[in-house]
Symmetry: D2
């Protein structure tokens, strides 16, 4: 049996990082992951990812933050130091960090010879118009531009050919994964009438909003409630447009905050150019995803629900065609922390290192 992969995780104290750690701990082809924390100077920026309750002496144990991990030993977090990572022979660094942290760390990582899977939005966007919303301040603009160009958008079902050789994987956004996978076959087949506008009405569980306690994530604010937010302004709009090769005016994307811990359902509305049969639609989807392990196309009239994909790496797709044969409703579901984040990151890792795509993910 070949040697196991050596990987490190920075940001295991956030929801995605924790889920990633949980998956990696069970992965049969990966050594126990090195869990990293940022050097002291960075700690204050860390709030978005969930500030760890670090003890005074710098010891930090992941099991203190996620007691569900307890009982399988100790999980100390050690400070990020490139020489140490190299000495340990780390093959791959996962960044589950805020985007501005990822934006500054990835060039360092690459300079130190690491391959990286970045779960933030830092390296997902090729077009300046979409990237502007993040307000990145790159210290070395030339390197940043080069890495922006080289980084591969890690959606294996679309970019599977570029992932194996990628140095930097920009792991897709959670919402974006459901919308892109829901629309890609249809757009590729040229069936959608984009002039009439595409609508993606998405609903996400609260873990998508991060671990930081805010008025918006307070239990009493979320329970017994539903709210729309970020209409026309959500950051995932850019990556959806880029990956689907449409403009951000051709799609309207509305996120909503659901009173559940995790899971996303996107209801997607498309006008078709011509009157079409349901069977034709279904075969377009089945053909597109026929060799894709982690997309499940439901048989009409069955529609996916959030529960079906929870705790799995699947993106589930189903659809309904209007009686007029020209309006299509696509329902796309996933677990936002798995296919929408940590699971997809591991799927990318598997492809980068020639492992079975589904290893550790079933």
């Amino acid at each position: 049996m070949p040697a196991k992969l050596k990987v490190a995780v920075l940001g295991a104290t956030g929801y995605s990082g924790m889920e990633l750690t949980r998956i990696l701990l069970r992965h049969p082809r990966v050594d126990r992951p090195v869990l990293l924390r940022r050097a002291e100077s960075h700690l204050s920026k860390d709030a978005k990812g969930g500030a760890p309750s670090e003890s005074g002496n710098g010891h930090l144990n992941l099991a203190d933050i996620f007691p569900a991990l307890s009982g399988n030993g100790s999980y100390p977090l050690e400070p990020l130091a490139w020489p140490v990572l190299k000495q340990k022979g780390v093959d791959l660094l996962f960044l589950a960090t805020p985007h501005e942290v990822s934006r500054s760390l990835v060039p360092e990582a690459v300079a130190n010879g690491m391959r990286v899977v970045d779960l933030s939005g830092a390296w997902r966007l090729k077009q300046e118009q979409h990237r502007a919303i993040y307000k990145f301040k790159d210290e070395d603009a030339a390197t940043a531009a080069e890495l922006t160009e080289k980084a591969v958008y890690g959606l294996p079902e679309l970019n599977g050919d570029k992932i194996p050789s990628a140095k930097v994987i920009a792991n897709p956004g959670c919402y974006a994964t459901t919308v892109i996978l829901g629309l890609a076959p249809l757009l590729k087949a040229g069936l959608a009438d984009k002039d009439k506008g595409i609508i993606a009405d998405s609903k996400s569980g609260v873990s998508g909003a991060g671990k930081e306690p805010t008025a918006r994530t307070h239990f009493v604010s979320v329970a017994d409630n539903l709210s729309a937010y970020g209409v026309f302004t959500h950051r995932h709009l850019g990556e959806i447009a880029e990956q689907l090769q449409i403009t951000s005016d051709e799609i309207t994307f509305t996120p909503h905050l659901l009173p559940i811990p995790r899971g996303i359902l996107s209801t997607i509305y498309v006008h078709l150019k011509h009157k079409t049969q349901a069977a034709e639609i279904e075969s377009v989807y089945r053909d597109f995803y026929k060799s894709k392990r982690f997309v499940r196309v439901f048989q009409t009239p069955k529609l996916p629900e959030i529960q079906f994909s929870l705790n799995t790496n699947y993106c589930d797709l189903g659809f309904c065609l209007a009686p007029d044969g020209q309006r299509l409703v696509i329902v796309s579901c996933e677990d936002n922390l798995i296919k929408g984040a940590a699971g997809q990151a591991v799927q990318n890792m598997n492809l980068m290192f020639g492992l079975n795509e589904e290893e550790g993910l079933l």
Copy 2:
């Protein structure tokens, strides 16, 4: 002080009927309502409305079914008998019954000189194409046709002029209320480009699915979940189309089941004919609803959330305009059991009997 209204409620054992009873018990201008149950022969059909756990001797107390009512006395349900209702001088009969029951009882009630507010879908639709989905089997087709014609769709913000003199009020559907109120001003102003299709993506709490226990309403099926259902086929589509005077091909309506007990949020997508300013949109809505007590138009960029309207008779409206000035997202919220059912029924009652529209509803 004038004499109080005398009203009766059939179906108080269901969610809407219970909420209605609760409102009526507090209403300062209404006598304690007569609570009715159907004669024995009808009991077997009652499941949809929540079968009462009737004791063998025919005594049934609403407080046994809804213990929250306890402590304010006893709430016996008495069998529906027209002579008794007439003798008691009942002015108005509320029907919170399954649509097929309402379809057969309303003609009887009218023949017995009663005015009726029917909370079911039995009398809402004027067009046969929309009504077909209910598969009504009218015993007296001529009377049914006549009543269908005369029944007033009880949305006070649209049909306020016809309600005072109506004999039969068809109280609107819960989803329909949010969608119609969200779209009416825009369509009346001629701003919407209907050719590009209108989308109403609606999400409802579980009380909308009725009190009957089913696999779909089991707690474990609903919690931590979200699901779409009835896409292109939901019964409320017809009343939305009729009231907005559009065809059912011009609007796509998708209901979803939310993991909350009550409340609806509809996210509505409209293309505008021309590039428009947000201020113009806002003034269209404010003008339309300026004297309407129970519609609250939120100031951009604030959007309503389900919580804001819970336990109130408000329908809350807010909107976002795309940077291109041509795509509009409207968010419409209500408590499905109040503005979407019982509260609106009482609002109709107030208008029918010349009371203050808001009496008993604040």
Copy 3:
């Protein structure tokens, strides 16, 4: 009709204060309440009650914080100033403030001739051993001691005779209300074997933890969870012991955090001195509460549930007796924001001013 009461509320931006405001706005015998905010210097201490998102110019509108209030007009908060309150003829000041704020404001209020209902724990405890946990630092110890002595524990079912003439009402804690009302009849009747220890296992919705966002109140931490906290150390233990005239060693009180927004259920375990019949227990409870409007004694074997008392001012009691006739389980439920806070405060107000005890509360 006599003039309406004039009242003021400080702390309307917290959960209890908001609920109080909502009740007062509907109360037929109370003028529209004066809504207060603390002078600037106090604002930093305000976090526990939910820091208001105050606009720069000092204008603060309650409807901005609780949009559910919108549509009934504007709700400006004005700075607390005693001369202004006197000039407005305010009869009663409600304090829905953190306990240290109440501890310092009540002496000022009394010195200014105000009567006060304080919803915090500041003035509930007579015994120094119980009060120690609050670590009060009284500026004027003598006055504080005097007020501590004079303040009436505002549980109308126990202290109804002292409330009408009270200057300062210490409104009971939410948990304490359920436990005291659940046990008082039994202890008074001398049926309980205190040597074997009394257990109160209480479960509360999240609004009881206050509006401040913390890791503990984050939706993802609470949903799909249950946790015990404050075992043997919760502040309500003292008031339970004092009101029941037992020691804090004779009762074990364990609070738990429930994944619901509001409501408390306490399961209380008592050993009886002698083998007893259920009918005797029931009559002890019925006698004790026979003229008490807001306690509902359920008939064996029916037990109250949290839902039954939500949005009401009731405390619901039920019980089960063991086959051995010597072990009793009492279930006590309430809405923590109403009977456990704002509703009880209004009930106290009604008694203080000679109104009907239930006015505005049904």
Copy 4:
């Protein structure tokens, strides 16, 4: 590598059976399980376990019932037939069936040479006084008595020595597992003062109530609620008493229904005979469970919460000692479908067949 185990599951359409199937499908030492359904004549009795929506021709696919299973192939259910099971070389039969079904099937299975893990309550009780509540009607009383005697109560942490050779494992009840594991060390150490009574106040998620839709499991009945039930009468009381070797008068057990899909927290109250130190208590628990893989003893003052054990096979224990050193509160948590059912069943299987106790369970 040795041959994999061959197992069959009857009742995979219920919650526990489904969870069991999910675990077995991932178990590295078990062949793909044979999924069984009962012969036609039994189908009507099946309701409690969740009636499958069987197609007319008798084909039934588990993925139709639990779509989360989809994408990993097809899961046909085949009719139970002993000769077929023998021919397939099935080593072990899991029964996730109602107790009356298990009561009649286990003798058949044993007669056919099968070993059985039964997840129901059918074979858990040795004492007639406790068993009476189930009202079993054994066809062959002598065989039933013999099997009752021989069946091993499958709590590995207590009966680990008898499990390897057992023919029939009576898998423990979900509530019972938390209570027994929470109390066993203390009782064995002789620290508890049983005369003062032990209290187990337990709270369970709704999956514990089974998959059948009832008024009690309707989402609207459970959400925003908490209720106690089965006080002094719950079936698990008998197995708790038997395993702890106490009488059912020495312990008061109160189950509650929590508004969450899964998980149990039991708060257990014990009087100690003598004033004791927390360190002594902790060492009693640590010693008792020192080699037990699936019990985690939390370090004082940390207490387990339901979330920590969800989706794991752990039972988590923590405790608080009163200042008087004589009252102990123990908190015991588990996932009711895993350590409380399916996971424990697999743990038993591992021990029965000489596998690593934790195989397939981490």
